[in-house]
């Protein structure tokens, strides 16, 4: 059961990361996993988005996709 849950979580994270890439959010896997965890705890997604925007370093071009800030780390 535990293994299945882990596999599910990993798969979910992978899918979410791909979506995130399509949407050009500029998030890396680890950050994303943290965000998902926070969302699961009922944190307001819009507030979280605002926080990420505020804290992440300013982008070079407002419209260009941003390379991940740090190398993806496994959760």
């Amino acid at each position: 059961m535990e293994a299945e849950a882990a596999r599910n979580a990993k798969e979910t994270l992978e899918l979410a990361f791909q979506i995130s890439n399509i949407l050009e959010t500029g998030l890396d896997r680890h950050t994303l996993s943290l965000l998902i965890a926070l969302l699961d705890r009922g944190v307001n997604p819009e507030a979280l988005a605002a926080l990420v925007r505020e804290l992440s370093p300013p982008r070079q071009s407002s419209c260009a996709p941003i390379p991940p800030v740090t190398a993806p780390r496994q959760p």
């Binding site: 899918l15 979506i19 943290l34 944190v43 819009e46 990420v52 925007r53």
Partner: protein, 820 residues
Amino acid sequence: MDDPQTSALLRELVLRLLPAGSPFSPDAALRYARRLLSSRLLSPSSLPADETSLSDSIKRQLALSGRTSAALAFSDLLHKLSMLSGPGSLRHRPALLLLLKSLSDHPASCVLPSLPLPASKKTAVQSTAGGVGGVLMLSKDPDNIREIALREYSDLAIEDAEIDEQTLVRDVLYAAQGIDGRFVRFDPRSDGYDLPETMRVPRSMRTMVRRLCELGWLFKKVRGFVSENMGQLAAAEVGTVAQAFCSALQDELSDYYKLLAVLESQALNPIPSTGSSSGDLRNYLSLRRLAVWLAEPMVRMRLMAVLVDGCKDLRGGAMAGAIHGHAQHGDPLVQEFMGRLLRRVCSPLFEMVRSWVLEGELEDLFSEFFILSQPVKAESLWREGYRIQTSMLPSFISQTLAQRILRTGKSINFLRVCCEDNGWADAAAEAAAHVGTTTRRGGLGYGETDALEALVVEAAKRIDRHLMDVIHKRYRFKDHCLAIKRYLLLGQGDFVQYLMDIVGPELSGPANTISSFQLAGLLETAIRASNAQYDDRDILDRLKVKMMEHGDGDRGWDVFSLEYDAMVPLDTVFTASVMKKYLRIFNYLWKLKRVEHALIRVWKTMKPNCIASCIFAKEGMGVKVQFVSVLRRCQVLWNEMNHFVTNFQYYIMFEVLEVSWARFSEEMDVTKDMDGLLAAHEKYLSSIMEKSLLGEKSQGIVRTLFALFDLILRFRSHAEMWFERIYELQIRGRGKSRSKAKDEFSKTNSWLEGGRKAMMQLAGEFIQKMGEDLDKIAAEYTSSLAVFISQLPMQQHVDLKFLLFRLDFTEYYSQLYPTK
């Protein structure tokens, strides 16, 4: 928030997000994060529960930015995500989507550069960087409040910008077909398409939409015209030219539809957002591109609308003329377009011209042609049957060409109706072959005016020649003219002489006792007796006696006249009014002839050698001298009258009739068409009228002339009376002298002497009376003649001056009555 696990997660997130070398201390950043998450602006209640709408919105956004493949991948991933279930899977999928969407929205916000989002962000960062963090501080910070307000505004603006350019393009395309779009609607108040006032759209965009929507307005107008006309088609109120016009417009409109269809398919391609370097080079349609695409159709549509306006109340040739007026344009685009249109519009008109010129058919159901036919009798077919309707004459057909077209068709109809001739068909075919135009339909078009002219000229030449042939050869126009001249204008001298001799006694009676049958018989006799009998029977049969309307005191002379029945088709030339003129001339000449005839008759009785000069020889010298002097005066007066009449008649016969005839017959040989012939004849007749003092201007002088004629006739009747008496006296005198000579020893000598004396006295009185009458007539005659001669130089016509020279050759009269 108070959950320690959450705090730990949050802390880790903050540490992870904070870039190295950031001015924030991790603690401050964490505090800021906590405050942000618990702020009222972002309350959890605003969480959208609807996953579908959220994913749709993301897909639309992806598609809009030209990344359809990304949109496809996205929906695929989303599907997979929703497939996962059970422990470890996502509990709040919508929340994740919302988070990602808000993060990806951020760069998309650069669509609205007017919103100072980056600046607000900066200030927010700086305000927190100032180290004055804290919940209270943030909510009170004016910069932050402004930021929040701005953000709200930007959200609103983004919502408004939902009317993005693509929607507008589609709306404009709808409007261009006269259909109301989602936003762009027809406003009957301002009579045009427009965006609603309430809609917030950049001004430039609004202007462009308005400009493009002019097309829709124009289109509506043109389509309205076409459908209106097509609607009336069943009621048969629309002329062929209008039909052609409508069909040409319809074709133009269908071209236009094609263009719109292409544009519409392109409009489905999303407009790439500014700066997105997706490298997508597919055709897409922005308002500006649309403006370029529609520039040319706009010119055309505008032209069509102008034409529609100009032609609303016109029909037929007038319509073609109006359209032609617009074709005179320097722009090659307009020229080419108008040429195409006009070729279509004019084709029915040219077809009418062709069939009129070559077949004489007037296929004009809607009275559109510039030639109008009127139902008339055969004799006035040429003059009144057809005429040119100037209002229907298009300006590209000149007046002369129109006249020629009219005449050609008229000739054909004349040949067909009046002459019952079919030879014209060959002439027409020959003409068509010569020009190289087929006799089929649609051989001519607009812009080939030269070809049309050539066709018309050729057809006119041949058909006119054929008509002249028929008129001259088959109907012997010249013979009839000559016959009229000989009989009606008294050119055949011996015939006139006989007629005068035979008819004279008959005509002296009152008009109402004369039978025209008897006169017809006498006419026949006169013909038999004169050289006229060798004339053609056909011509002689047409000669008839005509009795004019007569009043109470009219004598036969006043009402008698000859008539010539010209019959179809020559009655086109010799119409009733022309014959009336001939009648007037005949009556005039007849009177002149009668006066001359009367004078000559008188001479027979008063010739000096007819009167025995010695009748009163033996008797009293006084009476004899008196008689001789009266006789002499009488002869002098006669001579004067004779001089006048002879010269006048000479003038009429040789200077008027023959000269006019010579000119007429010359022109008759030269002229090539019916109109020319008519004109020549008209000229002939009017020159006779004018020169023989029958014109309008010579009414005064002709009255004097008639007075002179009356005086001469009075002189004649008096002279006849006088000489009757003289003969009577002569016979009695001779009888007396003879009886006296035989019966010398008669006892009744004294009685005889007495009777003789009485007779001499009677003769004396008579001669006295005669002398007085003669003097009276002579005085009147002299004064009338003086008036006539003084009036003569005032006549306009130059030939009349020669009459004066002739009458006054020895300048006797000019010396007698010196000009005042």
